[in-house]
């Protein structure tokens, strides 16, 4: 195996890793705020990416505007989702599997709607910073990949500050940890849940915009993205959203290094197997401790 090839796949792994981390971060944000595993996180990205695409291609507006539009689209979708679907279901006193079926149903609805209204074509956005790439020890690094790493890291830092420093971030955490207690001290718990979905949607939309120059936007992309993001999220520890970065990078690297040794067709098989193995052996993430035994 030559060094350049290895380096190249490490770079691809890191790039993909940040994408998974971003999706995983969205899942963790929603889970932290609502205790719901959102199976439509990848669909936020699908919608965000598509909206950005339309803004760039059809309206001819600059990429920066498109990025903002894509991110907002994800956020609006997240908020609407919670408001219209999750809330009535919660009122009925539903269990875990209901939420999973619900978010999964929405994921399929969105995927099917995209298929119906937009079709099977794949689309891709231009990369941020153009299509060029820098050369690093013989390996090519796309400018877009660098932007992706920088923007994702920025989002993660901002989220950390948001949860640690702002009143609303703290309220969102309080609402999910102790619903009644939070309500007693005047926190609008349902609103906080909606905001968690909104935030998850924003992160998902951004992931969509950032991922689309790397992998094409396609009506079926959501579910796989969700599952990989989920793998990243639990690998890093679900309740520790910033663990998603470590989880995402681990997953991305394993995937791209595995592709070097086996056929690339098995990439997703490896990722999914890894997901199952992680859930069984590391349910609290690589950094977590204790077991889930008992009860």
């Amino acid at each position: 195996m030559n060094g350049t090839l290895l380096l190249q796949s490490v770079i691809v792994g890191i790039t993909n890793g940040f994408v998974y981390a971003l999706v995983g971060l969205g899942i963790a944000v929603v889970f932290r705020g609502t205790r719901i595993i959102n199976a439509m996180q990848g669909e936020f990205s699908l919608v965000g990416g598509l909206v950005a695409f339309v803004v760039v291609e059809s309206l001819g507006w600059p990429l920066a505007v498109a990025t903002v539009a894509g991110v907002l689209a994800g956020g609006v979708l997240g908020f609407a989702m919670e408001w219209l679907l999750v809330r009535p279901t919660r009122r009925r006193g539903a269990g875990e599997e209901s939420y999973l079926l619900l978010t999964l149903g929405v994921a399929f609805a969105i995927s099917a709607a995209v298929l119906y209204f937009i079709g099977r074509d794949t689309r891709s956005l231009p990369g941020i910073g153009g299509e060029g790439s820098a050369v690093l020890f013989d390996a090519a690094v796309r400018y877009h990949a660098m932007w992706l790493v920088i923007l994702s890291s920025a989002v993660m830092l901002l989220l950390r500050l948001f949860y640690d420093r702002t009143r609303i971030g703290l309220s969102m955490m309080a609402a999910s940890i102790d619903e009644d207690g939070a309500a007693t001290i005047g926190i609008d718990v349902p609103l906080m849940r909606s905001l968690s979905f909104l935030l998850g949607g924003l992160v998902g939309g951004l992931a969509g915009v950032l991922v689309s120059p790397l992998i094409t936007i396609h009506y079926e992309m959501g579910l796989l993205l969700t599952l990989k993001g989920f793998a990243a999220a639990i690998l890093g520890g679900l309740l520790n959203p910033f663990g998603a970065v470590i989880g995402g990078l681990t997953l991305g690297l394993i995937e791209s290094l595995a592709v070097l040794t086996v056929s690339s067709g098995y990439k997703d098989v490896i990722a999914m197997t890894l997901l199952i193995v992680i859930m069984i052996f590391l349910p609290n993430g690589m950094l977590g401790r204790g077991s889930r035994k008992g009860g």
Partner: protein, 283 residues
């Protein structure tokens, strides 16, 4: 079309059973449906064996795989378990495509012979219809038997309160694995029948979407009742037939049904029907 209703009922029943009686959300049924279908296709077209061998190979293979995979993943519960089965469906989808020496990849396997029974070939849909419905009825009968017997009680107990069931002596993990295996065998049976009926199988039939269809049968019909499952599969199969003109529209409709069912019909059609009957009985 009613043939498909029966075919899907058989596989969907496996999912409904897990969901309704064991509290397991399984999205992996497409994998076992595929294993059944490919076993039948491969045994009959590649080796030229008689049809029953395909059924047996598929069911045995499904049972073995379900056991091997189910043993570790059924330690999980809730979200984790559902997502693990979804990951399995993804793996299945990729493997069906990549192992083209076995499955024919995107080209699929064609020319699967029609079934014949006592020298009577089930050539037309009508004839197949008369064969497949008794099979579905047989499966339903077995299901009803199980529910009313010792392990049926244990299962429902486990679904309602796992800790209390364990105190009664039920080894919940073993029981779940047994039921997962049984459900996989049903999936495989449905898949084999499917292969012989359509006489052509390709990866498109065994995608994650298919797994969602099976789950939809369970959720929509109401997994807790037997009637519900049949109603659910009738709906899932008949609806798109009415709507064939819409082309790519029906996946959207399916998804919408799933959402609506989760939100408004917690016990599905079967549960709603039962409630309505009870209300009438009391009036």
């Amino acid at each position: 079309m009613l043939v498909f209703t029966a075919l899907y009922s058989i596989a969907g029943l496996g999912v409904a059973f897990l969901l309704g009686q064991c509290g397991i959300v399984s999205l992996a049924q497409s994998v076992f449906f595929g294993i059944g279908a490919y076993s039948s296709a491969y045994c009959t077209t590649h080796w030229g064996w008689i049809a029953p061998t395909g059924f047996v190979v598929g069911i045995v293979a499904s049972a073995v795989i379900a056991f091997a995979v189910g043993w570790p993943i059924l330690r999980l519960s809730g979200y984790f378990l559902a997502l693990a089965t979804l990951a399995l469906a993804m793996i299945g989808q990729v493997l069906f495509l990549e192992w083209d020496w076995l499955t024919g990849g995107t080209l699929g396997i064609g020319g699967i012979p029609k079934l014949s029974l006592f020298g009577f070939e089930l050539r037309t849909p009508q004839r197949f219809y008369y064969f497949v419905w008794p099979v579905a009825a047989l499966v339903l009968w077995l299901y009803a038997n199980l529910l009313g017997a010792r392990n049926g009680f244990a299962m429902r107990a486990m679904r309602d309160a796992p800790a209390a069931a364990a105190v009664l002596g039920v080894d919940t993990h073993v029981l779940k694995v047994k039921m997962f295996v049984a459900s996989a065998m049903l999936g495989s049976l449905g898949g084999s029948l499917f292969a012989h009926y359509v006489s052509f199988v390709s990866v498109d039939s065994f995608t994650v979407d298919r797994a969602i269809h099976f789950l939809l049968i369970a959720v929509l019909g109401g997994a807790k009742t037997i009637v519900g499952t049949v109603l659910g599969s009738a709906f899932v199969t008949v609806m798109p037939h009415w709507l064939t003109g819409f082309g790519d529209f029906h996946p959207l409709l399916f998804a919408a049904c799933l959402i609506a069912a989760v939100m408004f019909l917690p016990d599905g059609f079967g549960g709603a029907l039962q409630r309505a009957l009870r209300r009438q009985g009391q009036a």
